[in-house]
C-alpha cells in the first residue's frame, strides 16, 4: 500500500468517488495499491493540501484541483481521500 497523508487528523474524510457534485474540500491523502497511480496524481497536483471541488460524477468523475480540471475514472477517484468542508445550510 502506498499512501501520502497530510499531517492533521479529522473524522470527515471520504473518498472523492463518494462525493456529490458541488462538494468542496482539501485532499487529505492519496492512496492506492499501485504506486503508479499515486505518482501520476501527485504529478498532476493532486497532493495532500490541495483544494478540490467535485464538478460532476457521471459518466466519469470530473473535479477541480487548484486550477486544473481533471477527469478520472471512478476507481482512481476512490484513491483520493478528501477532508470535506463543513456544508452551510
Amino acid at each position: 500500500m502506498c499512501s501520502v497523508t497530510l499531517a492533521f487528523s479529522s473524522n470527515a474524510t471520504r473518498p472523492l468517488s463518494e462525493l456529490r457534485p458541488g462538494v468542496r474540500g482539501v485532499v487529505f491523502e492519496v492512496r492506492a495499491s499501485n504506486s503508479g497511480r499515486v505518482d501520476r496524481l501527485l504529478g498532476l497536483g493532486v497532493t495532500p493540501g490541495a483544494r478540490v471541488t467535485v464538478l460532476q460524477t457521471f459518466p466519469g468523475v470530473v473535479f477541480l484541483c487548484d486550477q486544473t480540471e481533471l477527469a478520472v475514472e471512478r476507481g482512481v477517484a476512490a484513491s483520493i481521500i478528501v477532508r470535506c468542508e463543513e456544508t452551510q445550510s
Binding site: R40, L42, L44, D66, A71, E73
Partner: protein, 597 residues
C-alpha cells in the same frame, strides 16, 4: 499585477561574457499545455503547432535564437507531468533531453494558475543538477481567476530567476532572455520520494501564492461546464458534428469543389491545357501523359487541387478552431467507457480525433498513451477505420451527393468494425490498459492569428505531401495502362472486385491506387461516381473497403518507425482481409435487403 519583472536571487554572481566553443543549449520543459511551444516560437521565430490540449507536441523540435549577443540552440520538448516512476513515451523523450549532455540550461515553463504542480516538477528537475530559469506563463489568466504569485519570494526560495510571462502576447520575453545569464541550480531539498516533494511543493505554494475568490472568467466556466455534462454536452457534440458537416461536407465538398472542378478545371485549365497540348506537342505519348485519360494535368492535378484541396482546407480551418478552443479532450469523458471495451481509455480520443486530420501524425500522437498495448490498439484502429481529411473529402463528396442514409451506412459499418476489432484486440493482445486520468484544458476563444498560421501550414503540408504522390500515382497508372497491365490487374482482381464486392471492373485499378494513398483511390471513385458509373450501393461498398484499407504509404512508414517492421506488416496483413471481407459482407447484405440509396 507586478508583471514582467525578473526576480533574480539576491547577490547573484556577476556573469562574464565569454566565447563558447559551441552555442549555449536550452531546453524548454514543463507540464503539458503550459505554452512551451509558444515560448519556443517567440524565441526562435519558428512556428511549431500550438493547440489547446495536452500532447500537441510529442517530438522534440530544435531552433536557434539570439539571446543578447549569443546564439542559443533551443529545444522544445513534449509536456511532462513527471520525469521518474511510470512515465509515458513522450515523457521519456523529454527526460532524455534534460539528462543529456546536450542541455546546458533548463527553462521550466509553468502555468501560473497551477504553481503546486509546477513545483512538483521543479523538484524533479533539480535532481538533474542543471542551471534553471522558471518562467511563470499565463499570469493574465491566473490574474483573471484571482491568483497572484509573489515571484520575488519564489525566486528567493528557489534561488533561480523567476520570470512572469504572457507568451502568446510576447510579454515577458525580453525579461526571459535577460534572465538566462543568471540561470542557477535550484535550491530544493533532496526529495527522492514523490510524497516528500508534494509536502515541499504545498508549503512553498502556500507561502508565495494568494488566491482570492474573485473570478472574471464566467463565460469560459459556463462553456466548460456545458461541454462536459452529458445533458448539454451530447447535444453540443451533435451540433459540432453538424456544423462540421455543413462547413466541410456541404460548403467545402460540394460548393467549392463544384466551383473548382467544373469551373476552374473543367472549363478553364483542362480545355486550355488540352488545346495547348494538341497544338504544340506532336508526340501523342507525351500529349496523353499530360492531358489524356490518365493525364498528369487532367487527372493528377484535378484530383489534388479541385477535389481534395477545398475539403482539406475547410476541414483544417474548422479542426484548428476546435483544437484551440480546448473542446476535444472533453470528449474523452464521454468516450472513456466505450474505449475501455477496446482496451483503451478515454485519453485515446485525442489521437483518434487527430486522425481525422492526418492518420500519420496521429500515429505519432499515440505516444501520449500509457501502455504499449494501448499504443498498438490505437495505431491499428487509426489505420483501420479513421478516414483522414483528404479521404473524408472524397467520402463527403461522393456520398453527400447520394443520400444521408448512404453516409450513415458507411460510418456505421466502419465504426462497428473498429469497435469489433478493438474489442478483439483487447482480448488477444497481452498487456494492460492504463487508468483514465486526463487534464482538461480551459475553454478559450481561439486566436485568429494562430488559427490562420496553423491552417496555412497544414494546407501547404498537404500540397507538399499529397500532390507529388498524386502525380506519381497518375504517371504509374498511365504507364500501367500503356503496358496493358491495367487490364491484367482488372482481370486478376475480377473475382474479388466484381464477384465479391459487386463493383464495376474499372474499380480494380482504383483499389490498387488506394493502396498508394487511400484518398487518391477515393478521388478516382469520385470521378467514377461523377460520370455515373457507380450505383449508390456500389459507391458505399467501394468507399467502405477503401476507408478500411491502410491509409497511405506514409502512414505505413510511420507505423514501422513507431512499432517496427514486423508490427507494421502484421497490421497491414490484418487490415487488408478485414477491409475486403467487410465490403463483401456489406454488398451481400445490401443486395439481400434490396437497398437502393
Amino acid at each position: 499585477m507586478s508583471c514582467h519583472i525578473v526576480h533574480e536571487r539576491a547577490g547573484a554572481a556577476a556573469q562574464t561574457l565569454r566565447l563558447r566553443a559551441r552555442p549555449l543549449r536550452l531546453a524548454l520543459v514543463g507540464q503539458p499545455n503550459v505554452g512551451k511551444s509558444v515560448v519556443f516560437g517567440r524565441l526562435t521565430g519558428r512556428y511549431v503547432t500550438v493547440s489547446n490540449y495536452p500532447g500537441t507536441t510529442v517530438a522534440i523540435t530544435r531552433g536557434r535564437a539570439l539571446v543578447g549577443a549569443e546564439v542559443c540552440d533551443i529545444v522544445d520538448t513534449p509536456g511532462v507531468n513527471a520525469l521518474d516512476g511510470t512515465i509515458s513515451e513522450d515523457e521519456r523523450i523529454t527526460r532524455d533531453v534534460v539528462a543529456g549532455a546536450d542541455c546546458d540550461i533548463v527553462v521550466q515553463v509553468a502555468d501560473a494558475r497551477n504553481l503546486r504542480r509546477a513545483l512538483m516538477l521543479t523538484a524533479q528537475l533539480a535532481g538533474f543538477r542543471k542551471p534553471m530559469v522558471l518562467a511563470l506563463n499565463m499570469v493574465d489568466e491566473a490574474f483573471a481567476r484571482g491568483i497572484s504569485i509573489d515571484a520575488a519570494a519564489l525566486a528567493e526560495a528557489l534561488r533561480v530567476p523567476v520570470v512572469e510571462m504572457v507568451a502568446v502576447e510576447g510579454r515577458g520575453l525580453s525579461e526571459l532572455r535577460g534572465a538566462l545569464a543568471a540561470a542557477a541550480r535550484p535550491y530544493v531539498p533532496a526529495l527522492p520520494q514523490a510524497s516528500g516533494r508534494a509536502v515541499w511543493a504545498h508549503e512553498l505554494t502556500e507561502r508565495v501564492r494568494r488566491v482570492s475568490t474573485l473570478s472574471l472568467a464566467y463565460v469560459q466556466e459556463t462553456l466548460a461546464r456545458a461541454t462536459r455534462r452529458p445533458a448539454t454536452g451530447l447535444p453540443i457534440l451533435a451540433a459540432v458534428l453538424y456544423a462540421l458537416y455543413l462547413f466541410v461536407g456541404v460548403f467545402g465538398a460540394q460548393t467549392l469543389v463544384k466551383l473548382l472542378e467544373d469551373g476552374l478545371f473543367g472549363q478553364g485549365i483542362n480545355p486550355a491545357a488540352t488545346w495547348l497540348a494538341d497544338r504544340f506537342i506532336p508526340v501523342p505519348f507525351i500529349r496523353d501523359l499530360l492531358v489524356g485519360q490518365y493525364g498528369v494535368i487532367t487527372m493528377g492535378f484535378t484530383y489534388a487541387i479541385a477535389i481534395v484541396l477545398p475539403v482539406v482546407a475547410t476541414f483544417f480551418l474548422m479542426f484548428g478552431f476546435l483544437e484551440d478552443s480546448g473542446y476535444i479532450p472533453r470528449l474523452a469523458i464521454f468516450c472513456d467507457r466505450i474505449f475501455r471495451v477496446m482496451g483503451l481509455n478515454g485519453k485515446a480520443v485525442l489521437p483518434m480525433v487527430l486522425g481525422l486530420g492526418c492518420d500519420t501524425m496521429a500515429t505519432m500522437t499515440t505516444r501520449i498513451l500509457g501502455t504499449p498495448k494501448e499504443r498498438l490498439i490505437a495505431i491499428l484502429l487509426l489505420a483501420l477505420g479513421i478516414p483522414c481529411s483528404a479521404q473524408l473529402a472524397t467520402i463527403l463528396g461522393i456520398l453527400g451527393g447520394i443520400s444521408f442514409v448512404a453516409l450513415a451506412t458507411l460510418f456505421t459499418v466502419v465504426l462497428g468494425q473498429m469497435f469489433f476489432v478493438g474489442w478483439l484486440a483487447a482480448r488477444v493482445l497481452t498487456g494492460d490498459r492504463s487508468e483514465f486520468i486526463l487534464e482538461l484544458p480551459p475553454i478559450r476563444w481561439p486566436r485568429p492569428g494562430n488559427l490562420l498560421t496553423k491552417t496555412r501550414l497544414r494546407v501547404w503540408w498537404y500540397l507538399g505531401e499529397a500532390v507529388p504522390l498524386f502525380l506519381i500515382g497518375t504517371v504509374l497508372l498511365f504507364v500501367l495502362d500503356r503496358l496493358g497491365a491495367l487490364t491484367i490487374v482488372a482481370a486478376a482482381g475480377r473475382p474479388i472486385v466484381t464477384g465479391l464486392l459487386g463493383l464495376p471492373p474499372a474499380t480494380a485499378q482504383i483499389l490498387v491506387m488506394g493502396f498508394l494513398r487511400r484518398d487518391y483511390g477515393a478521388a478516382g471513385l469520385f470521378q467514377l461516381a461523377h460520370s455515373g458509373q457507380l450505383t449508390g450501393v456500389q459507391a458505399v461498398v467501394a468507399l467502405t473497403v477503401m476507408t478500411l484499407f491502410v491509409p497511405c504509404v506514409a502512414n505505413f512508414l510511420m507505423m514501422v518507425r513507431e512499432r517496427g517492421v514486423k508490427t507494421g506488416l502484421a497490421i497491414v496483413a490484418v487490415i487488408t482481409p478485414i477491409a475486403i471481407f467487410t465490403g463483401a459482407g456489406l454488398n451481400y447484405v445490401l443486395g439481400y435487403l434490396g437497398v437502393q440509396f
